[in-house]
């Protein structure tokens, strides 16, 4: 079943590998398959972007729990109970050191990127996939979308 979930982050701290948004898979057996990630700047700040895996959920400033209406066919809620966490995190997820994707965006409101994965990035049970700033520069408040199956 395909789902899309979106939200707006707060500007991160100017600390390398700080999480802006985070899709967490709390399931004990099922994997979450991420097909797309979108990010768009909502303020005129430069964005340094990286996708990296996480091993703890941390404590998000806000969360979005996809429900029936996030399903593309409005068929059912996600089996995995995947949850989108958004900055600011009071407790940061544990971010792995391997960078899966890197990019950057100019300091323009509306500058954005849609990553569409020909083969989805899988999130094993009890782990996550985060949008982070890989360098010690604030990642501005951004609109983010994850599209996934589970």
């Amino acid at each position: 079943m395909r789902y899309s979930v979106a939200g707006r982050t707060a500007a991160t701290a100017a600390t390398a590998r700080t999480v802006a948004a985070h899709l967490w898979n709390p399931d004990t057996t099922d994997r979450v398959n991420v097909n797309e990630i979108h990010i768009v700047s909502t303020t005129a700040g430069l964005s340094n972007l990286c996708i990296a895996r996480t091993t703890t959920i941390g404590t998000a400033g806000s969360t979005v729990t996809p429900d029936l209406d996030n399903a593309h066919n409005r068929g059912k809620v996600p089996n995995s109970a995947a949850v989108l966490g958004l900055a600011l995190f009071s407790v940061m997820p544990t971010v792995d050191g391997s960078d899966l994707l890197r990019w950057n965006l100019p300091a323009v409101i509306g500058a954005g990127l849609m990553w569409v994965f020909s083969e989805p990035i899988e999130i094993p049970p009890g782990t996550g996939l985060a949008i982070i700033t890989p360098v010690a520069v604030i990642l501005p408040a951004s609109d983010v979308t994850y599209s996934f199956t589970d």
């Binding site: 996708i51 895996r53 391997s98 890197r102 990019w103 100019p106 890989p134």
Partner: protein, 152 residues
């Protein structure tokens, strides 16, 4: 089949006509298949320049290398079996072939200006050879973010 995503940022402008980043197949028999390769400017003031995708015939002497581990695997099930590497600075650059597989013009200074090539038919990298983004011989490419999707 095992697919790996690898991203990074170069640490210096390329040499004039030099490589920007380089995927090298260190395996004796396995063939790599490159499904996507992309780079974008990280906002550095360099000349607008042509970037080209070319094959290489040796690794050169890298000073910075990413060796993909299990977390680069899109399934997070194993590290790259071929042991392929991604290099991005060198004391001796790889030998670059003259045939250009793809090219694009990159404007100067503009963050995020770049391209992600998606190859519906992947570019195969035989054992002991590589594939790189390089700058035109007329200039350098500034510090860039790059990303790859590689099958081994």
């Amino acid at each position: 089949m095992s697919l790996h995503r690898v991203g990074g940022r170069t640490t210096a402008n390329s040499a004039t006509g030099g490589p920007v980043f380089h995927i090298f197949n260190t395996h004796a028999t396995a063939i790599l298949r490159v499904h996507e390769a992309g780079l974008c400017q990280a906002g550095n003031a360099t000349l607008a320049i042509r970037a080209m995708v070319v094959r290489t015939t040796g690794r050169g002497t890298p000073l910075a290398t990413i060796t993909p581990d299990i977390d680069h695997s899109i399934e997070r099930d194993d590290a790259a079996g071929s042991g392929f590497v991604v290099d991005y600075t060198w004391s001796a650059v790889p030998g670059m072939d003259a045939s250009v597989l793809a090219q694009i013009w990159i404007p100067d200074t503009l963050s995020g200006a770049g391209v992600i090539y998606v190859f519906p038919v992947p570019i195969e990298v035989p054992p002991g050879t590589g594939l790189c983004f390089r700058s035109d011989i007329a200039g350098t490419i500034g510090i860039c973010d790059f990303t790859l999707l590689v099958e081994d």
